[in-house]
């Protein structure tokens, strides 16, 4: 049980963290072809788009890795007040900077639940499903497990890890406070903000399933330390943001490589959910504005245009520069090369 390689049928117990908007099928394939486990994020995507991405990945590798879902519920109706408040703010923010912004009505939104993606996963014979933002409903878990799918949940606290283990997952990602991108949190009233150094051993003590460390995994010493703290696998994410196969803009890649230890912070500004990214104008201005947040799906959709504009035109100040607290260790290069450097010289069986 002390190494997830046999469970996941991979050579190295190293999972590339799923990063929606950054991870490409090419990145997933490069990692999987290198002996790790790539993760294709499809949270919130339509079943059609998800299916296309999965098939694309399968065309590039014979070991297509994991598919990553958002396991939260979609709200039945949109809060109009929150929608208009956020739109007013974003319109004003964009106008002051001569950036484009298009208002939308509640009827124009279409959100996809993980429930709507399960048929596609089964049709495409996905063997490993990881998820964040919650625990899938029991009937979904049963359906996947009945087909022999391996399930990996994401926990930011001991209570969340226990809830996931009780629900029948095969492994738990312990997502430390250091990790870039969205917090997977779903259970506590206060947002869990537990550093990996404290979180990992406490989760490892609390659950019987293997634990995968996320947050600050950047080199051999951090992998060895994670195993020392109770991990059976590791999940680096930010390390792959500057990779050749990454969908990140050049400005985002450069910001990650240049990031100092204190350059990131948790913010709700981009999506309404807490996520860690490099501080920039949008983050600071939005937080200082006091506009608050809308529900995640709405908030995320409303800022999508601005972020896409920032990516296309390389304006990092309006891009969500998701990155962890050890981002500065990342370097450009092919994902396979980044993976090789990461695992070089480590005897995983001896950890």
């Amino acid at each position: 049980m002390k190494n997830i390689s046999s469970l996941l049928r991979i050579q190295y117990p190293v999972i590339q963290g799923p990063m929606l908007g950054v991870t490409s099928p090419e990145m997933v394939a490069a990692v999987s072809n290198s002996g790790g486990l790539g993760s294709l994020p499809i949270g919130g995507l339509s079943p059609d788009v998800a299916g296309q991405l999965i098939r694309k990945t399968k065309s590039l590798t014979s070991s297509p890795g994991a598919v990553n879902l958002f396991a939260h519920a979609i709200p039945e109706r949109i809060d109009e007040a929150g929608l208009q408040r956020m739109q007013d703010y974003l319109e004003s923010y964009a106008r002051q900077r001569s950036l484009p912004f298009s208002r939308r009505t509640a009827g124009e939104f279409r959100f996809y639940s993980y429930r709507e993606q399960i048929d596609t996963l089964l049709e495409e014979d996905v063997r490993i499903v990881s998820f964040t933002f919650g625990v899938p409903a029991p009937d979904v878990i049963s359906r996947l497990k009945d087909r022999g799918v391996i399930l990996i949940g994401t926990a930011t606290s001991v209570a969340e890890a226990v809830a996931l283990a009780d629900a029948g997952v095969d492994a738990v990602v312990a997502q430390g406070y250091e990790a870039g991108g969205h917090r997977g949190s779903f259970l506590e009233p206060d947002l869990p903000q537990v550093g990996l150094f404290a979180l990992l051993p406490q989760i490892a003590d609390a659950v019987a399933v293997p634990v995968i460390a996320a947050g600050g995994i950047v080199d051999g010493r951090t992998i060895r330390a994670a195993f020392q703290l109770g991990a059976s696998g590791v999940q680096p994410g930010t390390l792959f943001v500057p990779s050749t196969e990454s969908l990140a803009s050049e400005g985002y890649k450069d910001a990650v490589i240049a990031a100092r230890d204190t350059d990131t912070q948790l913010t709700q500004a981009f999506t309404g959910r807490w996520a860690r990214g490099i501080r920039n104008d949008f983050m600071r201005t939005t937080e200082a504005s006091g506009v608050g947040t809308a529900e995640y799906n709405v908030h995320n959709s409303l800022t999508a245009g601005l972020r896409a504009h920032g990516r296309t035109n390389d304006v990092p100040d309006v891009v969500s520069l998701w990155a962890g607290q050890h981002a500065g260790k990342a370097r450009k290069g092919g994902a396979a090369e980044i993976f090789r450097n990461l695992v070089a010289g480590i005897d995983f069986d001896a950890l």
Copy 2:
């Protein structure tokens, strides 16, 4: 350089974290007599009281450990508006709970700078001085170094570690986000909140002096992981809060032992400075009140009576229950026994 034992002339590279209000001379002596380095906190104490505590410690051990200072400047005059605002709030808080509170005037405060304590340290021939909240002035550093005193600074970011190393310290404590009690932060505009797992390797890469890991050090695996991440020593603190020699009240000790991973948070409510403690009524109510903070020395003095009442009458809801994110691992017992259990089975020379 990879082990601080020879530098500090101790058997184990393990320092008991200085905890003002919790650490007693008996705790320092128990750790030092067990082969570690005890730390006697004297931050803000008068030279007379500091001298008494140092002499008491020396009477209990032939290896009296380190003395810990607060290296911040004392404000020249008290902000009257902040003083009255905090007093109004505290008086109201206390009245609603039938707790005592005595108002004070600005003239009644007397704060002691670390500068005023240096003569005492030299008179008592203190051999190791650690500090937090900043870098001592160059003339003070010179004076201590000229007498051969070993200096240990506290950093919560790479920039702070570099500033300390540049100032001539002999070792740097890397204080992770997980650590209980006050953040030692003194340099960044935003409070550094870097998890130990990311902070430690980045500081170890940035400075040539030995690095000591603080935050989440509770057992052999965490010590081994810290060394793996670049530490040359470790500094557990919370682990000693429930010890027999601790000045903590029984309610505080029980709260530490019962603490879950998510039960602590950073707060300014008790002293105006950011510190990590177990959530309780005073923390929640004060933060929700929006009263803000006064300058540290004033704020700290104003809440002192309430906290002392809480300690004496065992009302944990008004005590600053400083604790780290792995507090639940702590157990009652003699400090020597706690220390022995911590280092049992670890071959430090092989780390």
